[in-house]
């Protein structure tokens, strides 16, 4: 029982990382109907940027502590946001009018490119992540929680709330919602669609970078291929929650995290990925639009 509660809590932390990434997927899909396969690579690059920043902070003896981590987190989010915008501009924008499958292939190409550039310059080996925040474990009755887990939860929930505020309260958020409903109508209303899409990519990439840095701190190791599996799983999370729906992505992320850790509790840890996909297929069959999605009848 204790193990189960402990794993439930662990699932919550893991799920919050998936949720962070799923938000990026869901926003991009909602706005231009593209499965952005390069999203997992932004997550990887975000964690690498953080790694190099923290290392240089340590060597120059500026901010060699928790503040260094937060500074690195902020810079990594900004740089990754910029990278996301550049990728959108160079690779996806020329294909906006062509078929979805060719944009999909381009996204896969970008993802291969980022992986292999990183492998070429920084070797395929995994490297230890600098632990600028010392791990402390608190025991709360039946469960143990480390300060890093708390940090993950606090940072990701803060970012999710911030995102919700941006989308619901700001003018840009309103534009994003408008473009996702009807691209052409939004343009007729005077919304700069290109800028809105760039902004969406920036937001999503910043969240993915934050997720990458947090996971580096949590697992203490990063490598150029680290984005592939979480990328797929967080996309599954986005579909599970209802793709294009922001709270759905967060919910989906937590569900995936919980399924994974629960599978471990019941002794199916070898099958946990299979279980994730199985749940996805079942959900798709029962509610094709996802947990929070609405079923829209296709018009003739």
């Amino acid at each position: 029982m204790e193990l189960m509660i402990q794993q439930l809590v662990n699932g919550l932390f893991l799920g919050s990382i998936y949720a962070l990434m799923a938000l990026g997927y869901t926003m991009v899909y909602g706005i231009i109907n593209l499965i952005n396969f390069a999203h997992g690579e932004i997550y990887m690059i975000g964690s690498f940027i953080g790694y190099f920043l923290i290392q240089s902070f340590n060597t120059w003896q500026v901010l060699p502590n928790a503040w260094g981590f937060f500074a690195a987190l902020a810079i990594s989010m900004v740089v990754s946001a910029f990278l996301g915008v550049v990728i959108e501009f160079l690779a996806y924008r020329p294909l906006r009018k062509s078929t979805r499958i060719s944009s999909l292939i381009t996204a896969i190409g970008v993802s291969y490119l980022l992986q292999n550039v990183m492998i070429y310059f920084f070797s395929p080996d995994s490297r230890p992540y600098p632990q600028s925040i010392a791990r402390k474990t608190y025991s709360l009755g039946v469960i143990d929680i480390s300060n890093i887990q708390l940090l993950i939860l606090v940072v990701s929930v803060t970012l999710m709330i911030l995102l919700q505020v941006i989308i619901k309260k700001t003018k840009m958020g309103k534009a994003m919602r408008a473009v996702s409903v009807d691209n052409d109508a939004a343009q007729l209303m005077g919304i700069n669609v290109n800028r809105t899409i760039s902004f969406t990519f920036a937001l999503g990439s910043a969240l993915a970078a934050a997720g990458g840095m947090l996971i580096g701190l949590y697992y203490n190791s990063i490598d150029p291929m680290m984005g592939v599996a979480p990328g797929l799983k967080s996309f599954v999370a986005a579909v599970l929650g209802g793709i294009g729906i922001i709270p759905g992505a967060a919910l989906g992320g937590f569900v995936i995290g919980l399924i994974e850790t629960m599978a471990t509790v019941f002794g199916f840890s070898d099958y946990k990925d299979a279980l994730v996909y199985l749940v996805l297929i079942i959900i798709l069959l029962v509610r094709p639009a996802g947990i929070l999605g609405k079923n829209i009848k296709e018009k003739v």
């Binding site: 292939i105 970008v110 992986q115 069959l285 296709e298």
Partner: protein, 325 residues
């Protein structure tokens, strides 16, 4: 009928010319082990691309699970032939793998093909990952993550070539049959096709099952050529590689799938010299081609001997001629 016979004979002759051309190259000693591997790989990729094109290009369903079906064929061949290395076991494994793949595709396809667009892609991706994870975990049968070595080598370039020709024949004949036209109608406009009385689910499932069975065949050939199978050879990346061939050649063009498999196969061969830069160049090539030619090399264009002959003989009874003039 007599007319079709003529064109079929020409096709047969063309296949024979290529076959004997390769045969001469092999016997003349121009083919090293390395180029042999490239040629066989191209042949297997042609089967995979043509079968995936049947699902994506002709029935309009995005499937990302081709590697899973390939894995079933590969493991069927590996498990059946490693203990009894006879041609009978090899043939049984080909058929067995295809039947299992077809059955799984049917089970998966019937409910999921109701889903629209990208959902099917995700469902098939999930299925292929589930197949791979099951293979990794069924240690007694599949030897787990370390794979199976020492499979007797049944397929060589000749076997692959024959199956390749058969696969191309099967797919292009299917597309030109009544069922095939119904499949194309479903691709063009599902709702309109349904309104015209086409059983959309039936044709989508048929294309999916047929594609899955051909993928399994290609998997069996690949395993018995390589003489080894590893579960990680059949992961998501493999499905993507096949998808890239299809999109590169032009979605909905069998000729395109064949040409793209060849071009990418040779590109891969020449890129070997670049070592670790290879994948960077490959990725850049994919992006650049997609940006400048999003419809693929050949679009939906098909190579047709009939059209060429008609063009040169300028026969009046040609259907297309009356439309064009």
């Amino acid at each position: 009928m007599k007319k079709n016979l003529k064109y079929n004979l020409i096709w047969l002759a063309l296949a024979c010319v290529i076959y004997f051309g390769l045969f001469a190259l092999y016997n003349g000693g121009f083919i090293t082990i390395f180029t042999d591997a490239i040629i066989v790989n191209i042949g297997i990729n042609v089967i995979l691309a043509v079968s995936l094109n049947l699902i994506i290009g002709f029935s309009g369903q995005l499937s990302l699970g081709h590697a899973g079906f390939m894995a079933i064929g590969a493991y069927a061949a590996a498990i059946l032939t490693q203990d009894n290395p006879t041609y009978l076991a090899f043939a049984l494994s080909l058929v067995g793998g295809m039947l299992i793949s077809g059955f799984i595709a049917l089970i998966v396809g019937v409910p999921t093909l109701r889903l629209k667009g990208d959902y099917l892609a995700i469902a098939t991706l999930g299925v292929s990952e589930i197949i791979r994870i099951l293979i990794v975990n069924f240690d007694e049968l599949t030897n787990g993550p370390s794979g199976i070595f020492g499979i007797p080598q049944f397929s060589n370039w000749q076997v692959v070539f024959i199956f390749m020709v058969l696969a191309i024949l099967l797919v292009s004949n299917y597309i030109h049959s009544g069922d095939g036209r119904a499949t194309l109608a479903v691709r063009e406009d599902e709702i309109a096709a349904e309104a015209m009385g086409v059983n959309t689910a039936k044709y989508k499932v048929t294309a999916f099952v047929l594609g899955a069975m051909l993928a399994s065949l290609a998997g069996s050939l690949y395993a018995t050529y390589q003489q080894s199978v590893f579960p990680n050879d059949y992961d998501f990346m493999k499905s993507i590689d096949i998808l890239i061939i299809v999109v590169f050649g032009g979605i909905g063009s069998t000729t395109g799938a064949i040409v793209a498999a060849g071009v990418l196969g040779f590109l891969n061969m020449y890129l070997q010299d670049f070592g670790s830069l290879r994948m960077i160049i490959y990725a850049l090539a994919i992006i650049v081609i997609m940006i400048f030619k999003p419809s693929g090399l050949l679009g939906t264009w098909e190579f047709s001997i009939k059209r060429i002959i008609d063009k040169f003989s300028k026969k009046g009874d040609d259907q297309d001629a009356s439309i064009n003039s």
